[in-house]
């Protein structure tokens, strides 16, 4: 898949549950439908949480990267 260009980046590094998901839900409203939000997190629980949040809200998790202790999520706003 080609590289995504995120419209916005949310830096949730250093934040613990529930903040990565809560902030994602707030930030996603600031991008247009179809745009991509990049979320950075260090909380290991965010892997499962962000995935669950996307599933629950219908937003599309395009890609999840793990590297240097930072998790990167690329989420496309669907609704």
């Amino acid at each position: 898949m080609s590289e995504f260009t995120p419209t916005k980046t949310l830096d949730a590094r250093g934040l613990q549950c529930p903040m990565p998901v809560v902030k994602t839900s707030q930030e996603i409203k600031k991008v247009s439908v179809g745009d991509i939000l990049e979320v950075l997190a260090t909380d290991p629980g965010s892997m499962a949480d962000i995935t669950a949040w996307c599933k629950s809200t219908g937003n599309e998790l395009l890609k999840m990267d793990k590297g240097d202790g930072v998790f990167k999520f690329y989420i496309r706003r669907v609704n």
Binding site: G14, L15, Q16, C17, P18, M19, V21, V22, T24, S25, Q26, I28, K29, D49, W53, S56, T57, G58, N79
Partner: protein, 160 residues
């Protein structure tokens, strides 16, 4: 966001007045709200402490004694164990802060910002002689058990 009317509601009874349990309640509530679900928290009995302003409560002798022993708002709530007169509370707060965990007052504000309904139990307020004015302004309503039971039927129900 998913259509709110389709999503299952989340109804949480907050019976405990302990910091650790209140945190669990607010974390679950804010997460459910972040998923676009209509979320309500029913504060009853000791749980009322999490939505009190902190001023001394009570009218009669027992009510005032209780108000004195149970004084303080959300910031004075201690862990359910190992409180040791407040030292445990201070230690837990420090540990959480060091690990980047959001504090209880901030979690409550987050819940308010996300539209979580804060509801108070009429009966326990009467028994403990806590009035509407003793509660923070953001409390949406003072209700009874039927309100909780009704909301609980429409989704996820929890007792903390």
């Amino acid at each position: 966001m998913m259509n709110e009317t389709d999503a299952k509601k989340c109804s949480i009874v907050v019976f405990s007045g302990d910091m650790d349990k209140a945190m669990a309640a607010f974390i679950i509530a804010t997460t459910a709200a972040a998923m676009g679900r209509e979320t309500s928290m029913f504060f009853t009995f000791w749980g009322l402490k999490a939505i009190q302003k902190g001023n001394p409560t009570g009218k009669g002798l027992f009510g005032k004694m209780l108000g004195l022993m149970n004084r303080g708002g959300i910031d004075r709530i201690g862990p359910s164990r190992l409180n040791f007169g407040g030292i445990g509370r201070w230690m837990f707060k420090k540990m959480m802060k060091d690990k980047g965990v959001t504090s209880l007052p901030e979690l409550r504000q987050m819940a308010i910002d996300l539209g979580v309904n804060l509801l108070a139990c009429q009966m326990s307020m009467d028994v403990m002689e806590i009035t509407r004015e003793d509660l923070i302004d953001e409390v949406a309503d003072v209700v009874g058990a039927a309100t909780y039971c009704n909301a609980a039927l429409q989704g996820q129900a929890l007792f903390i």
